[in-house]
Symmetry: C2
Subunit: 440 residues, 2 copies
């Protein structure tokens, strides 16, 4: 297992556009972020250091599930009759079932080091909330999770996981915050959204001295913690005497995808592997990179967060209720957006039914029941492998597989019984939400 | 990863009582079993060989999730403030989520080698059915699963897993067999039982030329395949420079427990570790070893199977609906029963609420969300560790942890919300069912 994270900031060909203060529109300083995050994480957000040592206490917990397995997908290759070599790095064997635990443990640690007694966060389908519930439990920190109401009602089992680990979980919008109360006054039946839940958690943390806020994706320090995935994969592929031509991952906030590709991006930037193809896959119903403009926007609905330069569908955009709840976010990690703008990362958008078809093919060949999010990446891996069958090229394809679908079996049932549907992209809503982009 | 299974039959201090033909009451011959099983498995059932090589094709699939991790439960030890050293071998990272895949893959392989095109089996809560669904899919064998109706209705997600892997699953009693039709005529609302589902699957296999039957526990060859767990643990504990004083596992049919302890039983029998304590844990509401007589009985309700010498609550006994569906069986593996009779294996019975309390403690210290079955073993591990705190002894305790509880979160919810209940043992029903034991 690698013992350090890789920070891409000093290696970027052009510097990342700064994060702006929502009031002054000036670049934020570490002090601006201090009410929300511990200084250990804030320093990582801006760090010029190429490598950051993983604290010993974090390593000890990582080792309870890491290194995760790098698989060669022999059975899938055979099924597709492709000359391509398919590898997948599977994060589903962590106790919380996804890659989220990599940053949850690190964030809980840095908070504990600075005496944080309580954390507030949001969660969509519940992957992040459950991972942070375990992270906080391990460092004896109280956790409150604002969970998007539609998921809270439709997917109770992720909530139960959080409660099993001792966290307190409420549906968002909730009466516990001003952002929540305002929305409930406007629409008592509001199904909620990730952006709104973020507003609630940020408000909670900003108003309480004993409480910090924690985000499960998007920010630089979150992507940093996830580079353990790619660093580990590099060591494993070296043993397998293989090197990827294509890396594919799903993107919601982008942390699993970036955690895998960032350590390989070094070689693309240095010229060691200039033709490395890096493909992020998003839902066709929430097509941030494939349809949104590159602009400054808030990370949340209420406009409480700093402004991030990113591809965005507008902070007021509420995506259709696809089962891949982790991909239902209006924005994307600024590092990924920057690299996409520079032409270094590709983006594709896929419809729900096609991703489930790919997910079932994967289950019946490789055995793993994937969450709906990584099914998006699987769809593109299969596409690329079939292209190799046409062309006869034996490309090496690396799939970043973020986690299992054991808590998503209701979605499997809907698909297998023919009840799952695709959603048309709501063009009219996009127009509305883009009209609300903040002026910078 | 070990490359051979260990067969305890030649090392038993006294030979196992023979399996009897239900008609003639004479010991069954391999030919008697040929309508149900492929000869490869039948030969293992009676094998005098101490070690049996794991076929290369089975090893290749085992390696997609094996070796599984042996953990040291440092955080649980600290929480209990015990000098005991607690280790646990965790089988929950297999694609199907439990140890069942170890034998599912092997059974599918031996069937495939002899040209079996279709298999019929039963499942209770669904762990076995889903594991065999994946095993059969990997060897391209059609699978029909008779699933206990109450579980089919209450726990639909295990059925969805089976279907995701391509198996056909029906609730038992079903109209597809005589055993099922007879029961439905008597009681159209019958919730079913594992013994009845076995009757249906055995009848299905016996009547069709292209179909074999497959059992997920109890039989010698099933326990044989599970010894990969204990053999692997031995190698891992050697690296950790540790040796168990106590081994604890939960027992339904007994295959996970036996798979762990059988490879260590060698040392107890040879005198290398005579004081090794081996403890099996069963539900207080289905207390086979702790309350049943040691007698010949059928493995199923309809009396279609051969007669096995085992502790039994009577083949007509329907256990209360505890969430640990995998432990709701009237009998027990003959090898375990024999060793218990000889005083080499202990048995304890635990109530549901106490096991969930232990399971939550485990989740909050070790992170893993356990299935209700292994919570029974966790309860006893904690008891033993607390005894060590009293006595000051630094015993080494090894827990056989059979799998995750991701599909059991409804039970977690019931427990966390205070709705879970214990069941009194139905003494009157035991009396009735024991009156029906076959005469031998």
């Amino acid at each position: 297992m690698p013992t350090r994270w890789y920070n891409i900031l000093p290696d970027l060909p052009e510097p990342l556009p700064p994060v702006l203060h929502p009031g002054t529109k000036q670049p934020v300083t570490p002090d601006d972020l201090a009410p929300l995050f511990p200084m250990g994480l804030i320093m990582q957000e801006f760090s010029p250091e190429r490598y950051i040592e993983i604290p010993e206490e974090v390593q000890v917990i990582y080792r309870t599930w890491r290194p995760t397995i790098l698989y060669r997908a022999h059975r899938l290759e055979k099924h597709l009759d492709t000359p391509a070599k398919i590898f997948y790095k599977y994060e589903g064997t962590s106790q919380a079932g996804s890659h989220k635990l990599n940053t949850a443990v690190a964030q809980a640690y840095y908070n504990k080091m600075e005496g944080t007694r309580r954390i507030a966060t949001e969660t969509g389908a519940g992957q992040w909330g459950s991972a942070l519930a375990m992270g906080c439990r391990f460092f004896d920190i109280e956790l409150k999770v604002y969970m998007v109401r539609i998921s809270y009602n439709q997917k109770p089992y992720r909530r139960v996981m959080m409660e099993a680990w001792g966290a307190h979980c409420v549906p968002s919008p909730s009466p516990d915050t001003k952002a929540g109360r305002d929305m409930l006054a406007k629409d008592p039946d509001c199904p909620g959204s990730l952006g709104l839940a973020i507003s609630e958690a940020v408000e909670d943390a900003a108003l309480r001295d004993d409480t910090h806020y924690s985000l499960g994706s998007v920010l630089n320090h979150v992507l940093l913690h996830q580079t353990i995935i790619g660093e580990e994969t590099r060591l494993q592929m070296e043993i397998a005497d293989a090197y990827p031509d294509i890396i594919v991952g799903c993107m919601g906030g982008g942390s699993n995808f970036a955690g895998q590709f960032i350590p390989w991006m070094r070689d693309k930037l240095s010229g060691a592997k200039p033709d490395l193809q890096i493909i992020g896959v998003e839902p066709a119903s929430c097509p941030t990179l494939t349809r949104g403009p590159y602009a400054y926007d808030f990370g949340d609905v209420a406009g409480l967060t700093p402004l991030l330069k990113m591809y965005t569908l507008g902070h007021g955009f509420i995506p259709p209720p696809v089962h891949a709840g982790g991909l239902r976010y209006h924005g994307m990690a600024p590092i990924i957006c920057h690299l996409h703008k520079l032409g270094l990362v590709e983006a594709r958008a896929e419809h729900q039914l096609a991703t489930f078809k790919a997910g079932i093919t994967f289950a019946r060949t490789e055995g793993i029941l994937s969450a709906p999010e990584p099914m998006h990446a699987i769809k593109v891996v299969i596409d690329e492998a079939l292209k190799c069958r046409e062309s006869g090229e034996a490309k090496t394809i690396l799939l970043a597989h973020s986690g299992h679908g054991h808590v998503d079996l209701g979605a499997y049932e809907a698909y297998l019984s023919g009840k799952l549907e695709d959603y048309a992209f709501p063009e009219d809503k996009l127009k509305e939400s883009l009209a609300e982009l903040p002026e910078v």
